[in-house]
């Protein structure tokens, strides 16, 4: 498509729309992408990222990452830092699936050891991890105990036998955003989600068995530091979020903010999906506390799923998960808002950072990283399509431009209905199996919608983040088995 005429090339990977692009813009909007990627971005990205640039309290620029496409309110790939005193918080800057995120787990198994068991492994994962429309989990908790999960996240899992102590250290923020307050979530949200702990969900959510081939290791030193030490090593990656609970929290507060933003706070509605409230207001603080509950629910969800994955591998290989070396590489959120400290105009300041379809990517030496990653920078997990593979990256020292934020996936370029026209799910499953990827799904239609051709080229996306100095490639991870929601 034609690029907006006022889009200015700042560098090979930064494209800027000036404040004159749209009335009300407070800062310029910047798109992080190569020329090839910026040219395939949909018009929604330019419109939405410049709407974000109009939000009160925004600092420096509104950003969109290289995998960006239109979203609700913010584009997917949207990043915005707000002044916590004078700025706003917007559910549209976080997304409906609060703390949708990625987790990567090691094994000490090789492709040669796993390949003969791949059908049994994938089938067992498929039966043990509920997927699909309206699925419920195996963790039985009362609605009041669910409140503990909301406030404690992965810590609840540790206390209840679903986590190893080191899992928490390998999770962003230790698997618990402090300040979560279960009193700030609706009964509806609890009713919708309290029995969904340990479920994958649907759409683009998946659990994948992947191989790290020697030729796909880009940085050996970082690979070793992240635990990739064996040729053809098998790892497990999964992608899911806060399920119906988080979706309801987002829906509830979106409507609350819509009802107060103009009437009570005089904030202009540019788009009903971009509803917001002052961060420093009762509504803003209530949403922040409720959003943290959804963040913690998602951490617990991924932790319980990891527990199940360890059980499955243990039963198939007749060894304990410890003996199989099933340690976490890391767990990263890509739909959140949080307070972080960053340099702003030469001074270290607290900012309220919205990342929607964007991963935190702290560079070497930054506070908040576990000791083992202080020298390497944070592992960044980028999920690709189920056909083409994914990436493990590392945060870079040069990521300050985007407040140490990077891409989150490959980003769709084709609608779900268009993707279905490429072929039926059953055929895709057969084709993929011929190429060495065994897939199980609850939904043939859903599978067809996730075909690799529906996504951008992930190699180009991660290369753009590396060229922009946000995250560097460590290894490309290739699927051999996949369960899809």
């Amino acid at each position: 498509m034609a690029l907006p005429p006022s889009l200015k090339k700042v560098s090979d990977t930064i494209w800027e729309l000036p404040v004159s692009y749209k009335p009300g813009m407070l800062v310029p909007a910047r798109i992080i992408a190569t020329e090839k990627l910026v040219r395939v971005m949909d018009a929604g990205v330019f419109d939405q990222v410049t709407n974000v640039a109009c939000l009160p309290g925004i600092i420096n620029h509104a950003y969109c990452m290289p995998d960006g496409h239109w979203g609700y309110g913010f584009p997917i790939g949207g990043v915005a830092a707000m002044d916590p005193q004078h700025g706003v918080i917007s559910p549209g800057g976080i997304g409906f699936d609060i703390n949708c995120g990625m987790r990567l787990v090691l094994t000490n198994l090789t492709l040669e050891e796993v390949q003969p068991h791949i059908h049994r492994l994938v089938d067992a994962l498929f039966y043990r991890i509920p997927t699909g429309v309206g699925c419920t989990g195996f963790v039985r908790c009362s609605q009041s105990e669910f409140g503990d999960i909301l406030e404690q996240g992965s810590l609840w899992c540790l206390r209840n036998g679903y986590a190893w102590p080191e899992d928490l250290e390998m999770t962003e923020e230790g698997g618990c955003f402090s300040g979560a307050d279960a009193a700030k979530v609706s009964n509806k949200a609890v009713e919708r989600g309290y029995d969904q702990i340990g479920t994958l969900g649907s759409g683009n959510h998946y659990c994948e068995i992947q191989v790290v081939r020697p030729e796909n290791i880009v940085d050996e030193r970082l690979g070793r530091a992240f635990g990739l030490t064996i040729p053809n090593q098998i790892v497990i990656m999964f992608h899911c979020g806060s399920r119906g609970f988080g979706h309801q929290v987002a829906t509830d507060y979106l409507q609350l903010f819509l009802s107060v933003m103009e009437r009570k706070y005089g904030l202009k509605k540019l788009d009903r999906e971009l509803s917001c409230a002052p961060f420093n207001s009762p509504e803003g603080q209530d949403y922040f506390a409720a959003m943290k509950c959804a963040v913690n629910m998602a951490f617990a969800n991924r932790q319980v799923i990891l527990h199940r994955i360890r059980e499955v591998f243990s039963s198939i290989f007749h060894k304990s998960p410890e003996e199989l070396g099933m340690k976490m590489v890391y767990d990263v959120a890509h739909n959140t808002a949080k307070i972080e400290r960053h340099m702003v105009h030469g001074k270290k300041k607290e900012v309220l950072l919205h990342r929607k379809g964007s991963t935190r990517a702290f560079g070497p030496g930054m506070e908040g990283l576990p000791a083992c990653y202080r020298e390497t920078g944070q592992p960044v997990i980028i999920g690709g399509s189920m056909e083409t593979g994914s990436y493990l990256l590392a945060g870079m020292e040069t990521g300050a431009e985007t407040f140490y934020s990077t891409a989150h996936g490959s980003g769709r370029t084709m609608s779900r209905h268009q993707a279905k026209k490429l072929g039926r799910g059953q055929k895709l499953q057969r084709d993929m199996e011929e190429r060495g990827i065994y897939v199980r799904t609850d939904s043939w239609g859903g599978l067809a919608e996730e075909a690799g051709a529906a996504y951008k080229d992930i190699d180009e996306v991660v290369e753009a983040t590396e060229l922009a100095g946000l995250s560097k490639r460590v290894a490309r991870l290739v699927p051999i088995g996949n369960i899809k929601g």
């Binding site: 509806k188 649907s202 979706h247």
Partner: protein
Amino acid sequence: MPYRYLEEIATADTAFEATGSTLEEVFTAAADALLNTMTADVTGIAPEETTTFETHNAELDLLLFDVLNELVFLKDAKRLLLRIQSIAFSHDKEMYRAKITARGERIDPARHRLLVDVKAVTLHRFSLEETEHGWKACVVLDI
């Protein structure tokens, strides 16, 4: 079918347009379009369980938004796939009100051809408008 899916609006998600000669028809068609996003065979949903709910909103379009959101909620909270049976609308000074009777059955992956889960009904390009032939709604669902 009084609804059709729109391909060009939602790259990552699903958008549809629903129509009806009356308000009740367009609400019913929109609910079916929502259901058809999650399961392939809408007419095969047996009317085994009946549920009723009431909702109100100062804006008529947001009344539809609320009804669709309630159906998404019931899908997760009660595991129900529902079709609207009847709607009683009323309108007083400040509020539009709808009393919905919906029928359907519990999700059964063994019998229902399930497609994709709906996370949320969005307000992105959401509209409900009166046309020459009745009513038309445009809805984008987050998948």
